[in-house]
Symmetry: D2
Subunit: 388 residues, 4 copies
C-alpha cells in the first residue's frame, strides 16, 4: 500500500475502512443484499467479509482475549479460506437477509474498536504487515463492490442509478504514438519498500525482444470499427474458446452495450448513457481483447512487456488484459496456512491484467500489480492496449 508516507497505520486503517462505507452511501437497504449471479457478491457481504478478514487474521491471533462478534459470521463471511473452516456456498450470499445491514455496520464498528485497541498496544512488524494486508484486501473489495453492484443493477430492467458521475467512467486519455522498447534482459516484479502481494515476487530477470506498445488504450471508436467490420462474425480472429463463448452468448458488443435507434448506449453506475467514442473501451473480456488485437493484425502485450514499458504511458482508467497466463514467478512461495490461500491457489487458467481502473481505490496501484480474472470475465472495468 503506497499511502502517503506521513500517515500512521492507524490513520490509514481509518481512512480505508471509511472509504468502504462511503461507497455505500448512495445505497438503499435493499441494494445491500441482492445477488443475481454467483460471481457478484452483495454489498453487505463485502462490508462484512472485509471486516471478518481483520477479525480472523488480525484480532483472533493477535489481540488478547478478543471475542468474535458473532460466531456464525465465521461461516457466513469466510470467502474461500479452507484453513479456517467451512463457508457458505458462494451462490447463497444473497440469502443473507440477516444479519441486517444495521447489524453488519455494528460488526464493522465492533471490529474497528478492537482494531483501535490493538493499534494502540502493539507495534510488531508481523502484526503491522497483517494489517496492511487487510487494508489492501479491503481496497480490492472496494473495487469489487462497485463492479458487482454495476452488474446487479444492470440485471434490473429499471436500470437503477447508483450515483451520477461518482465514478468518471468517461474519463479520457490523450495520448498518441508508440513507445519502443529494445531487446534485452529486464528485471520485473516488486522490489520497493512498501507493500506488495506475494504474487509480485520474486523480482526476476526476463528476456524481452524488441517491441512497440501503444501509448493510448483502445478507444470506443476503435472498438466500434471492429464491430462494424464484422469482427464478431469471423472465427479467424478468435481463440477457439472465445469463439465458442461468442456463439453461445450470441455476443456482438461489449457487456452493458445496447443499440437504440442506430446509436450505442451503455449502462454505467450513473445510468444508461450514450457511448463516448473517445473514452477507452471497457468491459471487454480476454476473448474480445484478443480478437480485437488479431483483427488489427497485432497482439496484446505480455505482462512483462507491459511492466517494462509502463513508465512511458498513462494507465489507470481500465485494467488492461495481457497475453500472460497468471502463473507463479520464479521463487514464488505461498505463506503457511490460510494467508497462503490468498493468491497462490488461483494460479491456473486465469489471465493477468495490468494497470488499474477508474474504480480502483487510491493508493492501490503500482506497475508490478498483477490482477487476474478468467478469460470470459467482462464485469471488471477492463480494456485493452495493443502492441504496435
Amino acid at each position: 500500500m503506497s499511502f502517503p508516507k506521513e500517515k500512521s497505520l492507524s490513520e490509514k486503517y481509518t481512512s480505508t475502512r471509511d472509504y468502504t462505507t462511503f461507497l455505500c452511501t448512495p445505497l438503499n437497504e435493499e441494494d445491500y443484499v441482492i445477488q443475481v449471479v454467483e460471481f457478484a457478491s452483495p454489498p453487505k457481504w463485502h462490508l462484512a467479509h472485509t471486516t471478518w478478514f481483520f477479525e480472523e487474521f488480525v484480532l483472533l491471533p493477535f489481540l488478547e482475549n478478543y471475542e468474535v462478534f458473532d460466531s456464525r459470521f465465521q461461516f457466513l463471511f469466510n470467502s474461500y479460506y479452507n484453513n479456517v473452516g467451512a463457508m457458505l456456498a458462494r451462490n447463497f450470499r444473497g440469502a443473507i437477509n440477516r444479519p441486517t445491514v444495521e447489524e453488519v455496520y455494528a460488526y464493522r464498528k465492533y471490529v474497528d474498536n478492537a482494531m483501535a485497541s490493538l493499534l494502540q498496544q502493539t507495534s510488531s512488524s508481523e502484526i503491522e504487515e497483517r494489517i496492511v494486508l487487510g487494508l489492501n484486501h479491503e481496497q480490492q473489495h472496494q473495487e469489487l463492490l462497485l463492479s458487482d453492484l454495476k452488474f446487479a443493477f444492470s440485471k434490473n430492467p429499471c436500470f437503477p442509478v447508483y450515483k451520477s458521475d461518482f465514478i468518471p467512467e468517461h474519463q479520457k486519455i490523450n495520448a498518441k504514438g508508440t513507445k519502443e522498447i529494445l531487446e534485452g534482459v529486464y528485471e520485473v516484479g516488486f522490489n520497493g519498500d512498501g507493500f506488495c502481494y506475494d504474487n509480485e515476487k520474486e523480482r526476476h530477470k526476463v528476456y524481452l525482444r524488441s517491441f512497440g506498445i501503444e501509448k493510448a488504450p483502445v478507444s470506443n471508436a476503435e472498438y466500434m470499427e471492429f464491430m462494424n467490420a464484422g469482427g464478431y462474425d469471423n472465427s479467424n480472429f478468435w481463440l477457439d474458446e472465445g469463439w465458442n463463448w461468442k456463439c453461445r452468448q450470441n455476443s456482438g458488443a461489449p457487456l452493458y452495450w445496447k443499440k437504440q435507434d442506430q446509436e450505442w448506449f451503455h449502462f454505467t453506475l450513473g445510468g444508461q448513457v450514450k457511448i463516448d467514442e473517445e473514452a477507452p473501451v471497457c468491459h471487454l473480456n480476454f476473448y474480445e481483447a484478443a480478437a480485437f488485437a488479431a483483427w488489427r493484425g497485432t497482439r496484446l502485450p505480455t505482462e512483462f512487456e507491459w511492466e517494462v514499458a509502463s513508465a512511458h504511458f498513462e494507465w489507470g482508467l481500465r485494467w488492461e488484459w495481457t497475453q500472460s497466463a497468471y502463473l507463479p514467478y520464479p521463487g514464488f512461495k505461498k505463506a503457511e496456512g490460510a494467508i497462503g490461500e490468498y493468491n497462490g491457489k488461483f494460479m491456473l487458467n486465469q489471465q493477468v491484467l495490468r494497470g488499474a481502473s477508474i474504480a480502483t481505490s487510491a493508493h492501490h496501484s503500482r506497475n508490478t500489480y498483477r490482477n487476474f480474472f478468467h478469460a470470459n470475465s467482462q464485469w471488471q472495468f477492463s480494456g485493452v492496449r495493443l502492441i504496435s
Copy 2:
C-alpha cells in the same frame, strides 16, 4: 370467496389487501427482496404482483382514463401471462432492488385508490367477478408469501425468525378411525353460488368404488416410524421418479428437519424447534407421501374420494396430496385471453392437493378447491391422509 355474506365487495377488498401488508409487518427491508431459488419469490414481488393483477385485469379494462403507476411494472410484475406482454425471467425476481419497498407500497396505495373509485362508480357483474378473482388471487399469494419466505429464511444458516407463533405450525387434530364411503355414482366439482376457480368446474359425476379414509392426517410420530423402518432406503416403496429424487438429494427426512443429538428439530416460521410428534407431518412432497402410503400397505385417496368424504373429517392444517393428476374436468373451458392462462395451461404433470393449510388465508378454502404442485415440491405446508 366465501366471505361472510354481509360484507360488501369494498370491505372485502380492503380487508384482503390489508392482510397482505399485515403479513409483512415482521419483515426488515432486506427480507423483502431476497430470492434464493427460482420457485420462491421475494415478498416485495408478491406485494407488487398482486397489485399488478388489479391494475392489469381490472383498472386498465374497466376504469376510464386510468393511467398505470409505472409502465415498467407491467414487465417486472407480470408472472406468466403471455397475452399481456413480456415478463421478467422468474429467476431474476431477486434483482428487483428498485422499485424500493417504499415505492411498492406507494404502488399498492395508488392502485387501491383507483380501485376505490371504481368500486364506487360501478356495479357490473363482470367487473365484480374480476375483482373477486383478484382477491382470491391475492389470497393465494398470501400463502405463497409465507411458504416462499420460510424457504428463503431456511437457506440462511442463521435461521432467522419470521415471527413466533404467528402461524401455529404445531396445531393438532384429535381424530381417530375411518370413514367408510359406499360404491356409487357421486357428483364432484363446484356448484354453489359463490366464487370458485374455473378448474373446479364443471360439476360432474364420477363412479367410485367403496373405500375407507382415515379421519386424521398422518402425524409426525407415524412418519418417524416410516423413517426408522428404513423407508427412505427401500426402493420398493417409491415411484421410480421419487426414488431418483431421493438418491439425487440423499434425502432421509422431510424438508426443514434436522437431527441434533438424537432428536429431530425442524425449522419453522417461529424458528428452529423440536418436532411435535402429535402434529400432522408437514413439507412432504408427493414422492414421500406416496412412499409412506406404500409402506403402510395402502394408498393416497383420489381427489374425488377426498371430496366426497371430506364432510366427515377435519381438514385445513396441511394440504393433502392426492393420487390424482391435475387434469381438466369434463366440460372445462378456459376463458379467452390472459385470464384463461390462470389455471388451464398448468394441467399437466402436477398432482392435486386438497384441503388447506395453517398458512391458507381465511375464507379461502372449500372442499372442491384444487391446489396443484409438482410431485417434487416440498416447500408448501403439505401432508398426507391415507386410504385405510
Copy 3:
C-alpha cells in the same frame, strides 16, 4: 398375448424370439452398438436384455441347476430392476462393444436352449405366466428396437436406410365422420382370458359424459394446416410446459420433418421421403397433440373414452395420445419383488397412449392396452385422434 389359440407356448416362444432377430437382419455390425441419447438403446442391448429377462425371471427361479451364461451380463443387461441388483447406467449402453454381437447371439441361443428344456419339462401355470410375460416384454422391445434405431439413424447426417418399406410408415386409414357415445357408466380394463399387463386391471366402472370421437386419426394434411396457421407460434394453444419445450427446442414441425425447397420431407426407416399428406401424422409428442387439439377447438379423448369407443373406429397405425395421466386403476396391486417393478413404479408424470402402431408386433395389441410415455417424447410412432 393374443396369439392364435392353436399355437403351443413353445411355438409362441420360438416365433417371438425369431422375430426379434429377424428385425436385425438389415443391420451392419456397427449399427448394433450405437447409442446417441440416453433414452434410445442400441439393438444389441435390446437383444441381450430381452434374453436376460428370461434368464433372470424364468430360468434362474424355475430351471434346476441352471447356470447363467455370463455373470457380468446380470449387470450389463438389467434395465431397471432394483430388486435383482445393480445395473449399468442407461447412458453407457453404447459402451458395450463387448460382448460382441456374435456373443450376444450365442447368449440368445444358450438361453433359448435352456428355455426349450424348461418348456419340455414343466407345465406349472406360474411358469407359463412368467414365460408369457417374457414374450410380451420381448414384443415391447421389438417396437422399441425400431423406434430407437430410427432415432439413432436420424442423428447420422448420412440418413442411413434401415430397410425400404419394411415398416409401412405411409399406410393410411380411410375413414370419415364421428362416433357418438352416450352418457353412462361403462366398464373399462381387461377382463378376457388371455394375457394382459397388471396395469390394465382391475376392470372397473367409470362414468362418462356423452361425447363424439373422430373415426380417423389426424392426417399430415390436417397437421400442416395447424403449422401453416402459426400453431407453433401462439402460446394460447399450448400447455405451459409444452410452450417452454417449444421455445427451448425452437420446434416448428414434428420430429424427423425437414423442409427442402418449399416441400416437407421426413426421415423414415426407409430413408428420407416426401410427406404423404393423407397418412396419419406421426412422431408428435403430447404437447403437440394437445396444442393441435386446442387449435381445432377440441381436446384429446381420455383413455376411457378411447377404450369405450374403440370398437367403432380403426386403430393401429399410430399410438394415440390421450388426455389421461398414467395412474393406477382402482384395485391395482403390483406384484411382489422385481416383477412388481415392471409397470407400477412408473405411474407418475407420464401420459397414456392407446392403440398400437405400424411398428407394434403382431399379437401385441388390444383395446385395453395402456402404453405410456413422457409428454415430451416424440420418438415413438405416436399420433393423435380428436374428440369431435
Copy 4:
C-alpha cells in the same frame, strides 16, 4: 518429422498410413464405432478424419481433377476447421454407424491411391510440406486413437482387452539423481531442418534461474506415498480449481486405478493388471501433478526449463506436465486460412506437456515438441517430473 533420412516421402507416407491401420488390427467392428464421452472419438472417426485431412488439404488444392470420395465426409470428418465449412458436433461422432468400417477403409484406399498419383507427379516444396504436416497429423491421431480407445474400453464393465503387451505400459526408466542447470539466457524453440509445428517457433531467448531437475520421472511407488499420506484430502496441496475437481469427482487415485483386496490394480490396453511400483506414474492430470509436487515441497518445471535440461535425462514413457501455460512464442504467426487453425486458436487455458509417451508414434518426438491439454485431462499417457 524426423524419419530416417534415406526414406522417400512416398515411403514415409505409406509407412505412416499403414501404421494407423495396423493399430486397428486387434479391433472388432463394433469397437470402431463407440464413443462414450465427447472428448474421446471412435477409431473409425480417426481413420476417416486423418484421411479427410489429406483430401481437404492436399488433394483438393493440389491434385488436378481430384474428386472427393463422398461429399458428405467433408461434414462428417472435419474436426474443427471453420474455414472449410460446417462439421458434425463432436458428441455425435459415435452416431456414425454409416459409412461402415469397410467403407472407411475404401475411403482410405481411394485417398492413398490419389496421393500416390500426386506424389509421382509433383515435387513442389509447398506440397511436400503439406504432406509432411498431414503425416505428422496422422501420427498425433495414432496416439489419440490409443488413448481414446483405452478410455472407451475402460467404461465397459467387462474391461475388454485391446491387446496384451502391444503398448508396454510398464516399461521403466532406471535413473537417479538430479541435473543442475545454471542461470543464464538460453535459446528455446525449434531450429533444425526437419519438420516442426508452428507452435514451436520462433526460436527465442529466455532467461532462466538456476534449477535442478530429477533425472527420473515420478514412479507409482512415489505417487502411492502421496496417496497414503492423505494427499487427496489436504486442500493446501491443490490449486483451487484442482481441489474443486477433486471434490466433485471424489477422486483418490489416478484414472484407471482400482483397489481390490488392499492392492492397487489399473486398467491397461492389455487388461486389468497390478500396479508396477517402479513404473512411472501415468494418467495424472495437471491438478494431480501439481498437488504431488506441492506435497513434495517442490514444483513442476516450466516448459523452458524442461527443454533446456532435456538432453540430460531420458524421456518418452509419459508426457510430462509442465508449469507452463500453452501460449504463443514471441514472433508466432499462424498460417492463413484453415491450416492456421491447427494450433494457434487453442492457445488459452491449456497446459504444456513435454516429452512423449509409450503411445507416441516412432519419429514423432523431439525436445521442442509442445503437447497441450486442459488441466483436468487424465486420459493421455501423462505423468510428472519434478524440479528438485
